[in-house]
């Protein structure tokens, strides 16, 4: 930002050309029966070649359209794609808890567990049964926060294939 070089200038121009192709896009909300919150989460593995960190993505739908989305670089380096997706699911769970609090405040009733879809089977298995085998025992305790959410029926993780 302080001393932009030609490379950065080219990158920004690329962004503008992307913007030009998407100016017609927007969010379309249609009135529906009932309010159902569902989330989708995914992560790439080592998406940033400069520091080997992965990127978490997530989308939350409420009724007919998207209400919340993010794409953020993770704070630590993931050793496997499962681990990257595991960390992404934790971010999604934090988002889900926050949105559920708002919805409970608005409607004043308890909600069913929020379903968050994930395309990685081993990540889901790790949530269901957090066995400490040698590929996951280094994952910090704070990352087992999501496990806690599943037990407390705040949310559940479900598989979705990446074709859908």
């Amino acid at each position: 930002m302080v001393q932009p070089t030609k490379l950065f200038w080219k990158a920004v121009k690329h962004v503008l050309r992307y913007l030009r192709g998407t100016t017609q896009y927007g969010l379309w909300y249609i009135q529906t029966e009932g309010v159902k919150l569902q989330g989708f989460t995914d992560a790439d593995w080592v998406g940033s070649p400069s520091d080997w960190k992965s990127t978490s993505q997530g989308i939350f739908n409420l009724g007919s359209a998207t209400v919340s989305w993010y794409s953020r670089k993770q704070r630590s380096v993931a050793l496997s794609s499962t681990e990257a997706k595991y960390m992404a699911a934790i971010q999604a769970s934090c988002e889900a808890i926050w949105m559920r609090n708002i919805l409970v405040g608005l409607f004043g009733k308890m909600m069913d567990p929020t379903v968050i879809y994930c395309d990685n089977q081993s990540c889901i298995k790790l949530f269901e049964n957090p066995v400490f085998h040698d590929r996951s025992k280094h994952i910090d305790i704070c990352y087992h926060h999501l496990r806690d959410c599943v037990v407390k029926r705040i949310m559940m993780l479900q598989y979705v294939s990446n074709e859908e």
Binding site: P4, H14, R17, Y29
Partner: protein, 82 residues
């Protein structure tokens, strides 16, 4: 105070409302950015950035128009946050 009817435009966001339907878009603000930086005729791209882009690949240390660059990044950040 006067009732101005349904909302159409608010802080860079277009709002279209019909029976039971709402469409929100930032098309107007995005087009303003493109016009301001003379990119309204650029070729549209499918992705915001090439997948193999690395900031370490910079070959020249020559500084380009820093003020315009900062204006541009600022406008894009505002677009993203709203």
């Amino acid at each position: 105070m006067k009732d101005m009817g349904l909302m159409h435009y608010f802080l860079g966001m277009e709002v279209w409302q019909k029976d039971g339907e709402v469409f929100v878009s930032q098309g107007k603000y995005a087009n303003e950015i493109l016009r301001h930086f003379h990119m309204e005729k650029g070729k549209p791209m499918q992705t915001p950035l090439a997948g193999n882009w690395r900031k370490e690949d910079a070959t020249s240390i020559e500084v380009v128009a820093a003020i315009v660059y900062r204006q541009l990044v600022g406008s894009l950040m505002f677009l993203m946050k709203t």
